[in-house]
């Protein structure tokens, strides 16, 4: 039985805000293979290519046959809970702030015995499923949940440390003028967000999506122009202490590259909205969010950037756009490192071509806004950090991992 999450309360102005701490983050190089796997929501362990032995903890030499070819393979996460304990005393500040803390030893069907964080409704002898999730230090940890999830499992306080669940939290959606902005607002509402703030730039230019957003319950709209330092600073001075999840869906897509469409104006706009816009948001909202990373059960937890999959490999048909997205992606990684000490995770969602007017000339498959929004919500609920949304983005990720030169040559539209 999971204890249901108490509803969020107004902040006591006289009480000190609990400062963020991080669980131990020391990991060997091979253990960081787990971090990459957890970031995308997989469950994989090393499996010796010679003898098939599954290895855990991670290592460089097979513990059975001494072979050194130990690729990561997706694995059956089931096992049996062999032993459990509830820790009342911890040596590290993160856990000291959070005892009692439940732990278990799981005997995996695949072989290894695994020390894991334990969900509240597990008992010794139970059949459990393991998952790999990123903890607040940004490294992968094992988690055991019952095979059949009980009700309100997402309320489990230990699991909430691993996720960025919108339930009970306040969200800022930066760009309310697109269909994606509307889909995000609706999806966060459905996922239990307690308040949704939505920004819009250039209010004199009407957008049907924004009109629809204004009519949603629990949504407040604000002026926000990410190209205007004053505008971003002003909104941050009002909201930065209240935003628990920030979704940067800034978007300005124009076709063209460098040689045949050398247009400094358009290129400047793309950089101003995608790269400098992120910089302005980071510089004004980042510090307050980071300071509230451990602020109770509904503290600040996530910064989402909706980026193009072409941030990872340039699509010359949208060449300067791709470059501005690449700049944003690099800055997002910088932001990830800077926000980590506060336990705030930066989630980068890479999308393929959207189904909007600027992609009119792009052949399918194209992404609908609801698909993108749903995937973002799921990533927040499950603690994923790098997302490839849609078939095109997934294919780009796969081809880049396999042979970056091949996709550089072949990409075109």
């Amino acid at each position: 039985m999971t204890t249901p999450l108490p509803p969020p309360r107004k902040k006591d102005p006289v009480a000190r805000t609990r400062a963020p701490t991080q669980p131990p983050g020391n990991r060997s190089r091979e253990a960081q293979g787990l971090t990459a796997i957890a970031a995308v929501g997989r469950f994989a362990l090393q499996c010796c290519a010679d003898c098939g032995q599954v290895q855990y903890p991670p290592r460089q030499i097979c513990g059975q046959c001494l072979g050194d070819d130990l690729p990561w393979r997706d694995m059956d996460p089931s096992g049996t809970l062999l032993a459990e304990t509830k820790l009342h005393h911890a040596n590290d500040l993160f856990f000291r702030d959070r005892v009692p803390w439940r732990l278990g030893v799981v005997g995996m069907d695949a072989g290894p015995s695994v020390v894991a964080h334990l969900a509240e409704d597990c008992r010794q002898g139970d059949r459990v499923n393991l998952s790999l999730n990123l903890d607040r230090s940004g490294h992968a940890v094992m988690n055991a949940r019952p095979e059949t999830p009980g009700p309100d499992q997402e309320d489990d306080m230990q699991l909430r440390e691993l996720s960025m669940d919108p339930k009970g939290r306040r969200v800022l959606i930066v760009n309310g003028k697109t269909a994606l902005g509307l889909a995000l607002a609706r999806s966060f509402k459905a996922a239990g967000a307690r308040e949704i703030f939505v920004g819009q730039a250039e209010p004199w230019k009407a957008a049907p999506a924004f009109e629809a957003i204004k009519s949603l319950d629990g949504v407040t709209t604000f002026p926000l122009d990410v190209t205007d330092t004053d505008s971003v600073g002003e909104l941050a001075s009002v909201l930065s202490g209240k935003v628990e999840i920030l979704v940067n869906n800034s978007y300005h897509l124009r076709p063209g590259g460098a040689v045949d469409r050398m247009d400094m104006n358009v290129s400047r706009e793309e950089m101003d909205i995608h790269y400098f816009g992120l910089l302005r948001l980071a510089g004004t909202f980042g510090a307050a969010m980071r300071g509230r990373g451990a602020d109770g059960a509904h503290g600040a937890c996530a910064w989402v950037n909706v980026l193009s999959a072409y941030a990872q490999v340039n699509n010359p048909a949208f060449g300067t756009y791709s470059a501005s997205q690449a700049a944003a992606r690099s800055l997002a990684q910088c932001l990830r490192a800077e926000m980590a000490p506060g336990g705030i995770r930066v989630v980068n969602a890479y999308v393929g071509p959207l189904d909007d007017e600027w992609h009119q000339m792009v052949p399918p498959p194209k992404l609908g806004p609801d698909t993108v929004a749903a995937r973002v919500i799921r990533a927040l609920q499950q603690g994923h950090e790098d997302l490839a949304i849609g078939a095109v983005a997934e294919e780009i990720a796969e081809r880049l991992a396999e042979n970056p030169k091949e996709i550089e040559r072949e990409i075109k539209l």
Binding site: A83, E84, H117
Partner: protein, 389 residues
């Protein structure tokens, strides 16, 4: 090829550098004071000790090497044993072979550690690669969490109750009351034990040792040399060591002793029924139960009923951790692994600090240590005898 015995090799001069909860002194100081007490107790010059076997968690960044220059010694045989609580009997068997083949004449086996306010936390924060990767990030509970798992599993698997562990702890506390340097000075009742502050379910306060600063040490030499120096000494009947035993066990219910227990007694020419006292490695009660089983005193899983049926005090029918063990004396880092050996030498040479076991002729000291990931990897043990010469 059958193993050689230890005829003509003896252990003597049991030394304890008194324990303190915290100390500003370094591990070098504790090891150095132990050496000073050893040579004083033996009546030899520092230079006569030509071999050293050192164990310590807090000597870093030094090993035994740094200690040679710090203490001004020039040994012709040097070993550093990183096996934590298993180091004692391992040091003994290393040193015995060195003396036996003439590589050294007098070997000092010293285990010593300091305890600053952050020593324990620093030690467990980077204990091993597997612990860094796969244990410490989970609650940073240290050995308490690891042994909580083993205790939880053991209790359910074999039906042991907290009262059974409690009986062992109460008996050891009784034994400790006559040990001058024991950290725990008050009698412990079963009620105290059962209702103590929870640490990591099912472990409570008195299931856990108190980390402290201190040292334990002894000398290994030929029996001729011991006699010429006029030193009371004990003989070495048998030793074993084993590492990473039973890796296929999903969770630890037994350890290395069980693999070599038959040869252990054969080599000594005695059986479990001949053992007059047992000094077991007692960082947690559950490991004591495993040692009672794995060293042949009862079948696997029956240590609880064994403990219920026996009296573990020094005057009882199964004298166990007669100085009080680590649970009552304290765990001075790696010295915890030599505490039992040093107490065994005292009991067999009539140099007890506390109560003596009546008519003790043969004693068993067992050592265990190094939770590298999810189980203690290192085990060792020695059977010592009263010298008849």
């Amino acid at each position: 090829m059958s193993r050689m015995g230890y005829d003509g090799i003896v252990v003597c001069v049991p030394v304890t550098v008194p324990y303190s909860r915290y100390s500003l002194r370094s591990a070098h100081w504790f090891c150095g004071r132990a050496l000073a007490d050893l040579i004083a107790g033996a009546g030899v010059a520092k230079a006569d000790v030509d071999g050293f076997c050192i164990s310590s968690f807090t000597l870093a960044p030094d090993s035994a090497v740094g200690l040679t220059q710090h203490l001004g010694v020039s040994p012709r045989w040097l070993d550093h044993i990183p096996m934590g609580g298993a180091s004692g009997a391992v040091a003994l068997r290393r040193a015995a072979r060195a003396v036996q083949c003439g590589d050294a004449d007098i070997v000092a086996c010293i285990a010593g550690d300091t305890n600053h306010v952050d020593s324990f936390r620093n030690t467990i924060a980077s204990f091993s690669q597997f612990a860094n990767d796969a244990v410490y990030p989970y609650g940073s509970g240290g050995p308490n969490a690891s042994f909580a798992f083993l205790t939880d599993h053991y209790m359910r698997e074999f039906g042991a109750a907290r009262e059974d562990f409690g009986k062992l702890c109460v008996a050891q506390r009784d034994n400790a009351l006559s040990t001058p340097h024991a950290m725990m000075k008050r009698p412990l009742s079963l009620d105290d034990y059962l209702n103590a502050r929870p640490i990591a379910d099912p472990l409570r306060l008195f299931d856990c040792v108190m980390p402290c600063a201190g040292a334990e040490a002894f000398l290994v030499m030929s029996d001729d040399r011991a006699k010429s120096l006029g030193l009371p000494h004990a003989t070495i009947l048998s030793t074993i060591e084993r590492h990473n035993a039973y890796p296929e066990d999903p969770i630890q219910i037994r350890a290395g002793w069980a693999m070599d227990v038959d040869g252990f007694y054969d080599h000594a020419g005695v059986g479990p029924q001949d053992i007059d006292f047992v000094q077991a490695y007692d960082d947690y009660p559950v490991i004591c139960f495993m040692q009672i089983e794995d060293l042949g005193f009862c079948p696997k899983g029956e240590a609880a009923s064994f403990v219920r049926e026996h009296d573990l005090t020094t005057a009882g029918d199964f004298p166990f951790n007669t100085s009080g063990g680590q649970l009552s004396v304290g765990q001075a880092g790696a010295a915890g692994g030599s505490l039992g050996l040093v107490e065994s030498i005292r009991q067999l040479t009539d140099q007890c600090l506390g109560k003596a076991v009546d008519g003790a002729h043969v004693g068993l000291a067992s050592c265990f240590g190094m939770i590298n990931y999810d189980r203690g990897l290192c085990t060792s043990a020695a059977i010592l005898g009263r010298s008849t010469r």
